[in-house]
């Protein structure tokens, strides 16, 4: 029943073979439908803009190449220098750990804020208020100096006996001070992002989950959060990228992340600009990596929200290549190439002989 209906719809959308898209009768006097030529619209303004941008680009590239103060050989040498690699790895570890801490705690804070308990709401609100207000640099230094406030940390029963003792200096080294600083302040921002995402989920979804009697944690984890993720992910990735770059602030703790290492090296050899370029290239590469991951994560959460997912860039490139090969060799288009792409083989051939019908 349903399948018939869908077919019926598509029949209406696409004119049956032999009928020109416009439906007019004039076309029937001209060449056969098969031979209609496709001519792209002309855009002189676009050509002009392209030319201007091309010239500007050429200027930039030429100055990059000809100005030897960039010292590209130094850049190339240091790009994969062992201590730089270590610094990049430290930056990655900081980013990943702080993101995990930030978003895990942020999600808890968001759920607290949305809970029905006034105390939980207030605590969550106050947390966000404090950690968003105090500059990150200050927070980092405070965490690093925690040992001054509490030389010994202990685990035990609240207001009762203490069972386990830790030396604060042992427990909170530079790395964990950095994680506390970055992660806890990130949580304040993440909380708002997650909360906005949850609020964006249709009220009907909450009601449907509740009316089915699903346990509360299941409602949140299975029904609400996955749908909230669709709006959370793009903003969250922004935050992670901000965090990646923000890790450079940890150099105040003299922790060996990318920026600190770079500054130590140029402090010794004086090649400031090339080493800054090395760091910039690494940040650029890591951000690119995050962006690629973002694409696939977004795609994952788009399942069901879109009727059909658009192809990935990789699929697109593969199909383009296959279509291109068929156009050159005349071989049939391989299976698996969607009709919208395969159709280009035919269109391409019609366009090729210029000035055909007119």
């Amino acid at each position: 029943m349903s399948a018939d209906l869908a077919e019926g719809e598509s029949r209406l959308l696409y004119p049956p073979p032999g009928m020109p898209p416009g439906g007019g009768s004039a076309a029937s006097a001209g060449p056969a439908d098969e031979d209609l030529r496709v001519v792209a619209a002309r855009h002189p303004g676009r050509w002009l803009a392209t030319a201007v941008v091309a010239v500007l680009l050429a200027m930039v590239v030429s100055s990059l190449v000809t100005n030897d103060r960039w010292e590209w050989d130094v850049v190339a040498r240091y790009l994969t220098w062992p201590s730089i690699l270590e610094g990049a790895w430290a930056t990655i570890r900081l980013t990943v750990t702080a993101s995990v801490v930030g978003f895990a705690l942020g999600t808890v804070l968001a759920l607290m804020r949305l809970s029905r308990s006034p105390l939980l709401q207030a605590v969550s609100w106050a947390y966000t208020w404090v950690f968003r207000s105090v500059p990150l640099l200050l927070q980092l230094l405070l965490w690093y100096n925690l040992a001054y406030l509490y030389p010994v940390l202990s685990l035990g029963i609240p207001f009762g006996p203490e069972l386990l003792f830790f030396d604060t200096l042992d427990l909170i080294d530079k790395f964990w001070a950095a994680i506390l600083g970055l992660g806890l302040s990130q949580a304040a921002y993440s909380a708002e992002i997650v909360r906005a995402g949850i609020l964006g989920v249709d009220q009907g979804q909450h009601e449907a989950a509740a009316s089915l009697g699903l346990p509360r944690h299941r409602q949140v984890r299975r029904i609400i959060l996955p749908q909230a993720m669709r709006s959370i992910v793009p903003t969250a990735v922004n935050e992670v990228i901000g965090l990646l770059k923000g890790t450079s602030i940890v150099y105040v703790l003299a922790y060996g992340e990318l920026f600190y290492i770079v500054s130590v090296i140029y402090g010794r050899n004086g090649r400031v600009v090339p080493l800054l370029i090395v760091a910039a290239i690494w940040y650029l590469a890591l951000t690119t990596l995050i962006t690629v991951v973002q694409y696939y994560v977004e795609r994952h959460y788009a399942k069901g929200a879109l009727r059909t997912l658009p192809p990935t860039p990789l699929q697109r490139v593969r199909w383009e290549l296959q279509v291109g090969r068929s156009r050159l060799t005349g071989a049939p288009v391989p299976d698996g190439v969607p009709p919208a792409f395969a159709a280009r083989v035919r269109v391409g051939r019609r366009v090729a002989p210029r000035g055909g019908a007119a």
């Binding site: 009316s211 089915l212 029904i223």
Partner: protein, 254 residues
């Protein structure tokens, strides 16, 4: 499936200053199909939601087979149950929404088996087998792996019905199940409800489809201004309404 006995006594519900329900009394016997009709804003949806405890009532109570929904009775006081207990009791009541409210990120089958597995703790294999049977019953056996947005409105509502039935509820509540549908899709959904009416499950259907109420419902309940004005066998209420307000309403919609 055996239907439940639904009793609603003196239910009041206000939203701020607005009294949406002002003392509703209603009994739906096991296996009975009750159609609730009435003008817009008369409190029909609010009543259904109160039955399911999606809406807390201010006064009065709702019970299913003698068990209070949402409360425990101690002498003359009603104590609200814990959320866990409310959720458990809710699984005896199916709810079909006007806008389907299917979970768009889950497949059709996942939508149907979610509650049996995670609210009732039934084994997955059993829930899936039963889920497929239910989908076959609503004519969607071949769409088990589709996602809701890939289906037509009528198909989505049929999935929503299958999802509600998967809990093996004693009573199923429908809030205008066809009013979000294009006219040509209404029939397929009403057909499913009609088939369900023959199985002995208690059904409460808020509807604007008078022909459906006449054909399928055992009783018709007319609501206006937050109270039940009239309740009786469908032919009686629809053809020989006792109250002038019912009569005026029917003249407008028929």
């Amino acid at each position: 499936m055996t239907g439940g006995l639904l009793e609603i006594r003196g239910v009041h519900k206000s939203f701020g200053m607005l009294e949406a329900l002002r003392g509703v009394d209603l009994t739906v016997r096991p296996g009975e199909v009750a159609a609730i009709i009435g003008p817009s804003g008369s409190g029909k949806s609010t009543l259904l939601r109160a039955i399911n405890h999606l809406e807390k009532v201010d006064r009065g109570f709702v019970s299913l087979d003698g068990e209070l929904v949402g409360y425990a009775r101690r002498g003359s006081t009603l104590r609200e149950l814990t959320e866990r207990e409310i959720l458990r009791r809710r699984t005896r009541i199916g709810f079909v929404f006007q806008n389907f409210n299917l979970f768009p990120h889950l497949t059709v089958l996942e939508n149907v088996v979610e509650a049996p597995i995670f609210a009732q703790g039934r084994p997955r294999a059993q829930a899936e087998a039963e889920g497929r049977e239910l989908l076959a019953r609503v004519g969607l056996a071949d769409r088990a792996d589709a996602r809701p947005r890939q289906l037509s409105g009528g198909q989505q509502q049929r999935v929503a019905i299958a999802r509600a039935l998967a809990l093996r509820p004693a009573v199923v509540l429908f809030d205008e199940p066809t009013s979000a549908l294009d006219p040509e899709l209404v029939g397929e959904v009403l057909e499913v409800i009609k088939e369900l009416a023959g199985t002995g499950t208690t059904l409460v259907v808020v509807t604007h489809e008078m022909a459906f109420a006449r054909e399928v419902a055992d009783t018709v309940v007319f609501m206006d201004g937050g109270v039940v004005i009239e309740q009786g066998p469908s032919a009686d209420v629809l053809d020989r309404p006792a109250s002038p307000r019912t009569k005026a309403f029917l003249e407008k919609v028929l």
